[in-house]
C-alpha cells in the first residue's frame, strides 16, 4: 500500500476482515444470482469498488491449497453475472476490462514441491481464470512465498522487497 501510494496511485484498501465482509452466498442471493442488475444490490459497495478499479492487487494467505473462505466468498458474491462476466446467448464473456493490471501477493505454509503436487489451485485460478476476466494482455504478477512456517527473517524480508519492486512497476 505504501509503495503504491508513493507511486502516485490512489489506493482503495478493502480489508475484508476489518469491514466484516460476510462470505456466505445465501439463499436469496443464489435464487436471484442471474437477475442482472438486481443481483448486485446486496454487494453494491463491493461491486462499485471493483468497477472503479484500474488495477487489482490481492493479498492473502493460502490455506488448504485455496483462498481463505472470506476471500473465496468475495469471489462467490461479488463476481456476479453482469459484473465480472456476461452470459450472452449461452456464451460466457469476461467483463472486467476496466482492470488493466493484476497482482497477487500470497504466502503458503506448504513448500513449493508439496504445493505443486497438490496442483497449486490458487495459482491456477489466478493465472488462468482471473486473468481471463480482466483486460486482455494486462500485465500480471503472481508473487508467492512458499514454506512460510520455516521462512526465516531474511527470506521474509527478501519477499517484501520483491513485492515492493513489483508494485513500483505499476504504471
Amino acid at each position: 500500500m505504501q509503495t503504491l501510494e508513493a507511486g502516485g496511485h490512489r489506493v482503495d484498501l478493502q480489508d475484508l476482515h476489518a469491514e466484516g465482509f460476510d462470505p456466505v452466498l445465501g439463499r436469496a442471493e443464489r435464487v436471484g444470482y442471474h437477475d442482472v442488475p438486481a443481483n448486485r444490490e446486496p454487494v453494491s459497495d463491493e461491486v462499485h469498488r471493483l468497477e472503479a478499479a484500474e488495477a487489482l492487487v490481492l493479498v492473502f494467505p493460502v490455506w488448504n491449497y485455496g483462498y481463505p473462505a472470506i476471500l473465496k466468498g468475495w469471489f462467490d458474491r461479488v463476481f456476479l453475472p453482469g459484473v465480472s462476466f456476461t452470459i450472452d446467448a449461452g456464451r460466457v464473456r469476461p467483463a472486467l476490462g476496466n482492470i488493466r493490471r493484476l497482482a497477487v501477493v500470497t504466502t503458503y505454509g506448504g513448500d513449493r514441491l508439496r504445493t505443486w503436487l497438490a496442483g497449486d489451485p490458487p495459482r491456477r485460478v489466478a493465472g488462468r481464470h482471473l486473468r481471463w476476466l480482466v483486460r486482455r494482455g494486462a500485465p500480471y504478477d503472481y508473487l508467492a512465498l512458499y514454506d512460510m512456517n520455516r521462512a526465516d527473517a531474511a527470506r521474509r524480508a527478501a519477499f517484501l522487497d520483491r513485492v515492493g519492486r513489483s508494485l513500483e512497476g505499476f504504471r
Partner: protein, 194 residues
C-alpha cells in the same frame, strides 16, 4: 463404514440438495452409518477470526475451536462432499469449514514444522458436485476444487485412501434428463462403496 456426508448449498430445494439426499439414501441402503452435516442449515461460520488464527499453529487435540466438528472428523472413515463448484472451487462456506475444522492437532500434526497426517482412519474421499463450466474449461483451469480435496485433503488421510469424483458439467445447459441421469449415477456409485 462410518460416513460423514458434508452438504453445502444455500437453497434446500436445489438440485444439489437432491444430490445430497440421493447420496444419503444410497449410503444408508448399502448399510453404512451416515451422518449428515448440512453447513447452511447448521449456520456454520466460515470466517477464521484473528484470535483463532493466532492460536492456530499451536493447536492441540483438545483445543479445537469447533469441538463438535472435530468429533465428527475423528469419527468418520469416509467423507462425502456434496456442493456446487463456484469459481472452480468450494463455496466459501465449505472452504471455511475446511480452514476452521481441519486444524493442527485434529487433522494433521506439525512436527518440527513438518506436516504429519492425522486423518489416517479415512479410507475413502468422495466429491459430488455441479459445475457451470464445461469439462474442458475446468481442465484448462486445472480442476482446482477437485485438487483441493482429492490431493490436498487426501494427503492427510490414509495412505491408500480411495477417491471418487462425480461432476455434472455445464449445469446451465442441463436438462431434466441429464440431471436425472447424473442423480442415478451418484446413487449407483455410492451404493457400491465398500
Amino acid at each position: 463404514m462410518k460416513v460423514l456426508l458434508v452438504h453445502c448449498h444455500p437453497v434446500p430445494e436445489s438440485y444439489c440438495s437432491a444430490l445430497a439426499e440421493a447420496a444419503r439414501g444410497a449410503l444408508d441402503g448399502a448399510g453404512h452409518q451416515v451422518r449428515l452435516l448440512d453447513l447452511h442449515a447448521a449456520g456454520f461460520d466460515p470466517v477464521m477470526k484473528a484470535d483463532e488464527r493466532r492460536r492456530y499453529n499451536a493447536l492441540q487435540a483438545g483445543e479445537h475451536p469447533e469441538p463438535d466438528h472435530a468429533r465428527l472428523l475423528r469419527w468418520c472413515e469416509a467423507l462425502v462432499f456434496v456442493y456446487p463448484t463456484w469459481w472452480y472451487g468450494q463455496p466459501a462456506m465449505l472452504k471455511g469449514w475446511l480452514d476452521r475444522t481441519w486444524t493442527p492437532g485434529t487433522a494433521f500434526g506439525l512436527q518440527s514444522d513438518r506436516i504429519v497426517p492425522l486423518m489416517t482412519q479415512v479410507r475413502t474421499l468422495v466429491v459430488v458436485t455441479t459445475c457451470g463450466a464445461p469439462w474442458w474449461f475446468s481442465a484448462w483451469v486445472g480442476f482446482p476444487g477437485r485438487r483441493t480435496i482429492l490431493r490436498g485433503l487426501r494427503a492427510l488421510c490414509a495412505k491408500r485412501c480411495r477417491t471418487l469424483y462425480l461432476a455434472h458439467y455445464r449445469m446451465d445447459a442441463s436438462t431434466d434428463a441429464s440431471r436425472q441421469r447424473f442423480l442415478r449415477t451418484v446413487e449407483r456409485r455410492l451404493a457400491r462403496l465398500r
